[in-house]
Subunit: 123 residues, 2 copies
DNA sequence: CTGTATCCATGCCGATACTG
DNA sequence: CAGTATCGGCATGGATACAG
């Protein structure tokens, strides 16, 4: 269950990607980086995520020490998730990727357009 | 074929991850960042990658303008793949992730161990 | 509210064989 | 050498119902 994926290839980047390369992890991290958040709130914000996947993602992140789970016993029950310091640092590291994306998205789009036209037009 | 995945959530990081979050892309990028390389050579280095996946990955990266494909006509035919400038810049951006991984891998491992013990021991 | 258990469709990807 | 076409197993993950 811990996720298997590529292993081998002692590439550290791949190691991170095995952790946050899935569809939802970074969205959760991004959200929690702004403020602690409860389960339902997360589900609403991230939107089309199913409870199953949100629970799995949070568990995964918690296991890796990136988020912590705080149960405030009261009724109705509330559970708050927070980014750990390490989670914060990961979020920071992801920022540079974010920056890259913001800078290069137009170029990538343009490249795709060209590529698709070539492929479409000239077989 | 362009890859669908998460879309929505105008998160730029997710956009990059849709591009390089798969198992092989970063390995190819990493390899090409050191030197241009031919198809077969790539396959040998990255090892357990099938021709199918390598071709798909390269095509994907080429489409996004991250690598270029150079055919040197001679026999036997040779095709060389190179990282574009944009590909290089992406590789640089990935470095910070790599750094993060190197710094935090021990902590992550420790966190996992603890988590698994808790879960195993105390149900 | 905070999850978990079950079922099932989808699609990814490895293996393989084949083409130019 | 540099790929493409086809097939099939298997994991991923959505929908849903339900439990504490």
């Amino acid at each position: 269950m811990p996720a298997k994926r590529t292993q081998s290839h002692d590439c550290p980047i791949r190691d991170v990607l095995d952790r946050v390369g899935d569809a939802w992890s970074v969205l959760v991290i991004k959200e929690l980086s702004q403020a602690p958040c409860r389960f339902n709130a997360l589900q609403r914000v991230i939107d089309p995520i199913s409870p199953r996947m949100l629970a799995a993602t949070l568990k995964h992140l918690e296991r890796d020490g990136l988020v912590t789970r705080h149960v405030m016993d009261q009724s109705p029950p509330q559970v708050e998730y927070r980014l750990t310091q390490m989670g914060c640092s990961l979020h920071n590291a992801l920022e540079s990727l974010s920056d890259w994306a913001n800078e290069n998205q137009p170029h990538v789009r343009a490249a795709r357009k060209t590529y698709d036209l070539m492929r479409d037009g000239a077989g």
